[in-house]
Symmetry: C2
Subunit: 198 residues, 2 copies
């Protein structure tokens, strides 16, 4: 088949993580069927993406054409408590639960030597500098509870071991509304260890 345009498009789409050959084909089928205005809109948004979307110079969450994000500008938020997250989108998830009123810090990844992600690839130095300069009192490490998340949490604990910064992680336990038979053994063990007295 001599369809260089289609083959190049499939090639570019397959570079996206979790997009395999079959998903790429399904995406092309959608692009060919959809309205041309939608396709042009998507293409325009992609062209301008890196120009429009920046990261906040203090907490590294996304901003649109601004140096400081709305969270860092907001004086009503407690700036001495930082919630440290892996990705910028995690900030919006934390915000939607509405229970955290402090500031954020986005690492843009977690430590994963196998995937070539080392401390210098994350915003850890900036975190260290910010904790000292802004007199931060507590860090809440809201990472995924997996090997990489746990490693990164330990690494951060190690960085601040000689300072007075309190370091915590969100509680592990049974998710609300969940069926006990679907909870794995390790989660259940944690939930019992961290039980709440009524």
């Amino acid at each position: 088949m001599k369809l260089p345009h289609l083959q190049s498009l499939l090639f570019e789409l397959k570079k996206i993580p979790s997009v395999g050959p079959r998903s790429a084909e399904r995406m092309v089928q959608y692009f060919l069927k959809t309205k041309n205005s939608d396709l042009q809109q998507l293409s325009k948004l992609l062209t301008e993406l890196k120009h429009k979307i920046k990261t906040c110079s203090q907490c590294f969450v996304f901003t649109q054409e601004e140096d400081l994000c709305s969270f860092c500008k907001d004086n009503s938020r407690k700036s001495e408590i930082l919630c440290v997250v892996e990705q910028a989108f995690d900030v919006f998830r934390m915000e939607s639960c509405g229970s955290f009123k402090g500031s954020y810090h986005v690492l843009h990844g977690v430590l994963s030597p196998l995937n070539n992600i080392h401390p210098e690839n994350l915003t850890l130095q900036q975190l260290q500098k910010r904790v000292v300069e802004k007199e931060i009192k507590e860090l809440i490490l809201a990472f995924d509870s997996d090997l990489e998340g746990d490693t990164t949490a330990l690494y951060i604990k190690e960085i601040f071991k000689n300072s007075n910064v309190k370091i915590s992680r969100p509680a592990l336990g049974i998710p609300l509304g969940s069926d006990l038979s679907f909870v794995d053994d390790k989660t259940l063990k944690q939930a019992i260890e961290n039980r709440n007295y009524l």
Copy 2:
């Protein structure tokens, strides 16, 4: 959060079938991290897609800036046997197995009243016309073996019931190299009914 550019991009990405909120976020994260040249290349390919990629006027497979596809132009292929497929990408899959040397016809979908796909949305009229004009002798209906595929096959059989066109479907049976214990009951039943004597 006031990030209209990011929100529009997420909105456009979520229109792609099988892309949910989480996949759209992961795609945006990749776009923001990847080289700008890759992003511009993807955007350019999308902009030009509908202009560059057409469908063959005879068999409806994809072509690049040509009226007839390479299969229809190829005189060495038997043009009296048509392999009827659901999507244009199925043609490339059939070609990669290398055992079919006839011509193709792409329906661009299968009958699915629940999803509002009726006979007039497919290239069935063109198939009917082509069978008469080109004196087609056999149709191989290579659809998925599911409800929609079976319905479409029955519908096509009904269209040609008063003609001499032979209609067949690829054999159902146990896939090569498969473990018998993983084959479902209905497939096993078909495989035993269609058994091959040694």
